[in-house]
């Protein structure tokens, strides 16, 4: 294996993405099947509407924040591939952030590199940015929030968190773990939080680790719920989210509120997708759903999220990863682009897993991809061959849920649980006073 450093990896990945974007342009104009995602055309149309002073919501199926349309305005001015370059650049930024986070936690260089490669050379990843999907921007923001927290920049983290929840609603699931982690034991104003070293991951008797377990009883978060950092985070992120909402409501009124926010919360799309609920929704779509039914379908999601947060909240990237996989798996609608949400967090947990690629890792990958491919086969028969295979497709989505559950259980069992932050020593406080 040639030794490469992170810069060459990024350069090579950048080159790969540029080539793919150019190829995509060629395929769009010469072949019947487009390389570019349909969503990208929606964003571009909305952006050109914005550029001529109109509302982006005049474009049907535009269901995103107006910010995205603003970002893509240069599509009409410079070149229509500007958006793709922007998304691919975010993609590379995610790789860079993964490297930063792992370095902050003192992970050895070669493990860092392999983890970064898991993101940069994942075929799913480089196609998603070059096809014009906006998810890499969201991933970059989430990773930046983690970096800010690790460096103690709570204000900045709160700002970006408010922004990312405005952009895409799903990061709201990260609110509780972040609040839990902003413990006064770890965060004191004036200096950076102390990060637990990667080398100590298997050392269960480490001083700092056991001290943490002692301090962290079940009632600790309740006692310190009104800690300064937590309040600051909640207020600032809430303020940013509300200001964005208010600003765009002022410009675009109810259309904005409905398309960008409410649609995602009440979405019941009966068309076939990976979710186990799709056939149930289709069979029931002629009658309204009762409140009880809606609650019952929300309950598994809620229970899983709560258990994961309270069990694993201190190991922030691990908690985020598990939450995201569970959130996607139990959601009423699952489309392939949601997978990027946890692909960007996967490299952050790999250095702590006891699983080797042979054979456990391999089996996990095979099971997950196999379940997906199995579903896609039935989906193809339904959509492109016109056969009634609804029941079999639904069974395939149950198999996919089982595969996701299997992966989650395997990863939980084989993970070296490792909190991100260490309790700040009383001695450190005295040192700070000296410095000042």
């Amino acid at each position: 294996m040639i030794t490469t450093n992170i810069r060459s990896l990024l350069r090579f990945s950048a080159l790969l993405r540029v080539v793919l974007i150019i190829y995509g342009e060629w395929q769009d104009s010469h072949m019947e099947v487009r390389y570019t995602d349909v969503d990208y055309l929606v964003f571009s149309d909305a952006a050109s509407l914005v550029a001529s002073g109109q509302s982006p919501y005049q474009r049907t199926t535009y269901r995103y924040s107006p910010l995205l349309a603003f970002l893509l305005v240069p599509n009409s001015i410079i070149h229509h591939s500007w958006g793709k370059f922007l998304f691919s650049a975010s993609d590379l930024l995610v790789g860079y952030f993964i490297h930063s986070i792992l370095k902050l936690r003192k992970v050895p260089e070669d493990l860092c590199k392999y983890s970064v490669m898991v993101w940069l050379f994942n075929p799913f990843t480089f196609t998603i940015g070059t096809r014009g999907n906006c998810e890499p921007i969201v991933c970059a923001m989430i990773l930046w929030i983690i970096i800010c927290l690790m460096k103690g920049n709570v204000l900045q983290a709160a700002f970006w968190y408010g922004l990312v929840v405005h952009f895409r609603i799903y990061p709201i699931i990260y609110a509780l773990p972040v609040i839990l982690v902003l413990d006064p034991l770890f965060f004191q104003s004036g200096f950076k939080p102390k990060l637990l070293n990667w080398r100590l991951r298997q050392d269960k008797n480490a001083q700092s680790y056991s001290k943490m377990a002692d301090q962290y009883g079940l009632w600790t978060p309740v006692k310190t719920i009104f800690a300064k950092e937590r309040i600051v985070f909640a207020l600032v992120s809430g303020a940013v989210f509300l200001s964005c909402t208010a600003l765009f409501f002022y410009f675009y009124r109810w259309e904005f509120l409905h398309e960008a926010l409410l649609y995602h919360l009440t979405r019941t799309d009966p068309r076939h997708n990976f979710s186990i609920y799709f056939y149930h929704i289709y069979l029931q779509h002629e009658c309204e759903f009762s409140v009880v039914e809606k609650l019952i379908s929300f309950l598994p999601q809620f229970v899983v999220q709560m258990v994961l947060i309270f069990r694993f909240g201190q190991d922030l990237p691990f908690c985020f990863f598990l939450q995201t996989v569970a959130f996607v798996a139990f959601n009423k609608v699952i489309t392939a682009q949601y997978f990027v949400w946890f692909f960007c967090l996967l490299p952050l947990i790999l250095p702590w897993t006891k699983m080797k690629l042979k054979w456990e890792g391999f089996i996990c990958i095979l099971v997950w991809m196999g379940a997906q491919t199995h579903w896609l086969l039935w989906g193809y028969l339904l959509e492109f061959k016109g056969k009634n295979v609804f029941l079999k497709l639904w069974l395939a989505s149950l198999v996919f849920l089982a595969a996701n559950t299997f992966i989650l259980v395997m990863i939980i069992r084989r993970h070296n649980y490792s909190p991100v932050f260490e309790q700040l020593e009383a001695a450190t406080l005295k040192n700070v006073v000296k410095l000042q």
Binding site: D214, I276, Q284, V307, F384, W394, L398, L408
Partner: protein, 298 residues
């Protein structure tokens, strides 16, 4: 490394702010539609009068279209186009995305045509789509840009995502230019291929819904020499409609089976519960964290 990160971040922020300023200033880019008084599409006139696409309203509209003032009316003795017949009509492809292929012939009286000072003509085809299918306006626009049709537009309910029972019908109006030299012949044949997509159908016991396509409504509109564009047009309606020589096109679309309803709901929720239990069990019992109770430091 830290300072480089900061520089990069500041650069990103500045770029983002510049972009937002750009958008806020509102640079005028984008195509502007020429807004002549000339009504390009027949269906625009229909929707000015009626709310939605209902068969009885549409028949009324057809009866009056020639005298609605949209165009000049031909004197009765002139019958340039005597009749039209649909030669062929079927669906190409499999699955939820197909093409509706039609082949139509117009019988022409060259003497009548020669008496009119015609510049060019176009055939107007109005396809009223049954409730279970829809046409994607953006796909059709793409085809128009590639020159397959002169003009094309979708009217009525164009929501691409709603299942069938919730949406009203839609109609596609297609214009195709006709070379005036053709009028020296006795017949004019046009071929159309319209891409269509199936909606999710209402539930059916057999597992399939059958969608039938009715014949399209056809007109010919000609522009008269010498006059301004927005005033001179002639409507030539093909009043005699020969019986269709082929069977109506039928589309068989899969639909959900109501009998599955209970078992699907029950099994779905049971699976969700089982998965939840598995994950909760793994989190609480199988991970290597110490239990949450605080104990005195040893």
């Amino acid at each position: 490394m830290g300072s480089r990160e900061d520089v990069r971040l500041w650069l990103c922020r500045i770029v983002a702010i510049v972009m937002m300023v750009f958008a806020a200033v509102g640079i005028e880019v984008g195509r502007s539609e020429t807004n002549s008084g000339f009504k390009k599409y027949l269906m625009t006139s229909y929707f000015e009068k009626y709310e939605s696409l209902v068969d009885s309203n549409f028949q009324d509209f057809l009866g009056h279209v020639l005298h609605s003032g949209l165009c000049e009316v031909l004197p009765d003795n002139l019958r340039p186009v005597s009749k039209h017949s649909v030669l062929q009509r079927h669906l190409i492809g499999e699955g939820s995305h197909r093409h509706l292929s039609s082949s139509i012939r117009f019988d022409i009286d060259p003497k009548s045509i020669a008496q009119l000072p015609i510049n060019y003509c176009e055939v107007l085809v109005v396809e009223r789509l049954p409730a279970g299918v829809f046409a994607d306006p953006f796909e059709l626009q793409h085809l128009q840009q590639r020159g397959v049709f002169t003009d094309i537009a979708v009217f009525g309910d164009t929501n691409l995502e709603l299942p069938s029972f919730r949406s009203n019908q839609s109609a596609v109006e297609i214009h195709m230019n006709v070379d005036p030299n053709i009028f020296q012949e006795k017949a004019l044949e046009i071929k159309l291929q319209l891409p269509l997509h199936a909606r999710y159908q209402p539930l059916d016991e057999s597992g399939y819904s059958r969608i039938k396509f009715s014949d399209p409504d056809l007109f010919m509109r000609c522009c008269i020499k010498g006059k301004l564009q927005n005033q001179s047009c002639l409507f030539i309606s093909t009043t005699d409609h020969a019986e269709s020589k082929t069977e109506a096109a039928v589309w068989r679309i899969p639909s959900g089976i109501k009998a599955h309803s209970e078992i699907v709901s029950v099994v779905t929720f049971i699976s969700a519960i089982l998965s939840t239990l598995a994950i909760v069990w793994a989190s609480i019992f199988c991970s290597d964290i110490k239990p949450g109770k605080s104990s005195k430091q040893s």
